[in-house]
Amino acid sequence: MKNFLALVLVLLLSAGIIITLQNNDLFPVFGEAQVVNRVSDHYITKGSTQPIIWGETTDAEDGAANIVTSIVVNYRSFDTLGEVTVLFVSAMGVALLLSSGRTSKRLALNFKPNFMLRVGSRALFGIILMTGVYIILHGHLTPGGGFPGGVMIASSVLLLYLADDEFRSKIKGFKVLEGVAGSLYVIVVLLGLILATYFLQNFLPTGTVGDLFSAGILPIVYILIGLKVGSEISGLIDNFLTEEEAA
């Protein structure tokens, strides 16, 4: 009966959502919206009247080839700053709840990692780490960026935890790296206020669309976000996998 009521509720809510999102003034049919009247058109054309061509357009308003990155880290960078803060606060909450301070030890798993798991994890560790770094570095060219890349780095650390019974990451180094990367992000966006006119402004030349060294401060910011997210989530994993030493 309870399940049936839940099903009815879900069906009613989904019908409501579908009816409200269907072809009214706010939500036209997919592909029929008049983007010219919206601010998103400006994000795609990057404020120029010429079409943006990969490898040819130079000195556009925003040099990122990946539109999502150009919105997330340039036009809407203030939201990203908030997002980083939210992640920081939640990691801090986990650390407050789970880390026991001085006498913590590795959580003993009730299975012994066998030969295949140990060797396979070591082999995969490098590949996953390099993929994470690649995704961070190419955040302004291809899908991805600081957040998924950072989490990928943290997953490679998690693999090391799986492979070795005794493994503990240098948690203090992660804390320092996280703090430094977070502060540097704020300093970089504050430099926009000093060197140019407003907070979060892209003050470096944007270069050719599609080059690795292009898009001004976007790659720098994404590297900092990647380092911050990676160290933050590695610390979070360490918090999950340690426990208080029995006194």
């Binding site: 998924p148 989490v151 997953s155």
Partner: protein, 84 residues
């Protein structure tokens, strides 16, 4: 109806079924695995809807990290219960 539409409908239906099963399974570890498969299928959905950025994030976080954290939490929970 094109092939993509048919795949979309199949993925959507599977998503709903798997989410329902994840909520209603008695065993917690099975529930976590089903949740992971929900994330994995939604990655397919995102790719079909041409959102590779979201798909990448969902693949890394939803089916990688969250599943691992859930599994480790479950492992430590059962350990506590055994020692009592």
């Amino acid at each position: 109806m094109s092939l993509v539409d048919i795949i979309m409908i199949a993925v959507g239906a599977l998503l709903i079924i798997l989410a329902f099963l994840a909520l209603n399974t008695k065993s917690l570890i099975k529930s976590v695995i089903l949740l992971s498969s929900v994330s994995m299928l939604s990655v397919v959905g995102y790719v079909l809807m041409k959102a590779p950025d979201v798909a990448l994030t969902e693949a890394v976080i939803g089916s990688g990290l969250v599943t691992a954290l859930f599994v480790f939490t479950l492992l430590s929970l059962t350990k506590k219960e055994e020692s009592k």
